[in-house]
Amino acid sequence: MNALADGEARVRLEDVYLSVRERAIFHGLSCRFPRGKISVILGGSGAGKSTLLRMIGGLARPQRGVVAVAGVEVSRLPERELYEVRHRIGMLFQHGALLDSMSVFDNVALPLREHTDLTAKDIASEVERRLAAVGLAGTGAMFPRELSGGMLRRAALARAIVADPEIVLCDEPFSGLDPINVRRIEKLFTTLNRQLGLTLLITSHHIPSSLRMADQIVFLIDGTAISGSPKDLRHHADERVAGFFAAELDADAAGDDA
């Protein structure tokens, strides 16, 4: 993958250092996420995939370095100003993070109720449209605890995109899902990307789906990042990278056969 022009990158990290309780997670991490592309962030557990997303969302702050989202440096912004930047971001948490005291409908409607002046009727039709888009039409009255893992993930995705963000951060959207649900969510991602031009950042350790949908892969290792197209990384000179793909693919093949 070619070096990106600065304007092309919707999210840019430059020389980021972050440690938690003296354990270094990132030291000198730099990477870019291009506009309108699907980027998959790979790496072993504890490599800091979730932390990277949280940092982009302003939930975690690096000790040093630059985190620029849509041209705004977020790592030093006070909370109030972060809220402005977050209007451009939707985030899908690993376990959905839907408010369990509210129905699915109210969860998805929340960003609209908080930040727009839409009438109740407009909100209702918008929410229904989004729920239908993720294949959950008619589940609005249900509560998050009544949904299965895959449905929960899709409901959370509906909430993440309901306010029309430019960038969607997805934390482990495939973990704990059966192959059918993985395919379904994967398809949702590619549709969103193609139809709405969303910039998607997805953390995963599910290699086959990553290879299928990624425009760019960012591989986190030893506190830094190695980026490239899926093909580049699969046959990367660095043995650790190529080895990760090989091991995961083998494991997956065995799993699928079983």
């Binding site: 977050r86 985030m91 993070a97 369990d100 929340l110 908080e114």
Partner: protein, 258 residues
Amino acid sequence: MNAIQDLGLRTVNLVVHLGRLTAFVVQIAQNAVRPPWRVQRFVDEIYDVGVLSLAIVCLSGATVGAVLGLQGYVTLSRFGAETSLGAVVGLSLVRELGPVLTALLVTGRAGSAMAAEIASMVVTEQLDGLRMMSVDPVDFVVKPKALAMLTAMPMLNALFIVFALFGGYLVGVTLLGVDGGSYISSMENAIDFENDVAGTLLKSVIFGALVGMIATYRGYTSAPTSAGVSAATTGTVVTGSVSILLFDYVITALWGVS
């Protein structure tokens, strides 16, 4: 040496927590005086704090009143002063037992639940989810809860006292044969608005604020683990109860016992 170090560390920790608690309360107060008002959420919290505590508060009130009636009668009848039973029961309830016992009951019943709910929202990333939707969790989750505690406490206190007065009446008048008229009139003559009723209301408002802020603070700052949830719950009950008793003494001393 270790014990001294430990003590020093604990003291520093306590001061740090006091500082953070103050900042937290200022944040709640700032959110409380500006829109959105979140009336529906406030009403729902009143339901959790007030309505769901009603049964235990009223039952405890009636029981405490009955015991006071019985004990007071036994003591007073030695001096032939049974007619002052209303004054004894009424004064001890209005000045001390009402506000203190109600606050302790509410801490155990609603305060702990409040802390546990917020703490589990921390674990399941629901608060982070709100932040990513540019919704301030202090405004959306904490504010309605703290204000509901502040509002419901004086009402529960008044209901506790009324039920206790009734319990005392039941035992003293119906069971032990004290004259009903003198029970009521000695109570009404002994209790005075400025010294007693205003004092009980002030106490319960302060206790409500105290419990509301301790419960929400403990929940909000809990560690994102199961142990964090239980620590927040226990911490709320322990810290809450101790501060209620401490503040009760301080308020009584400042208010002046006449």
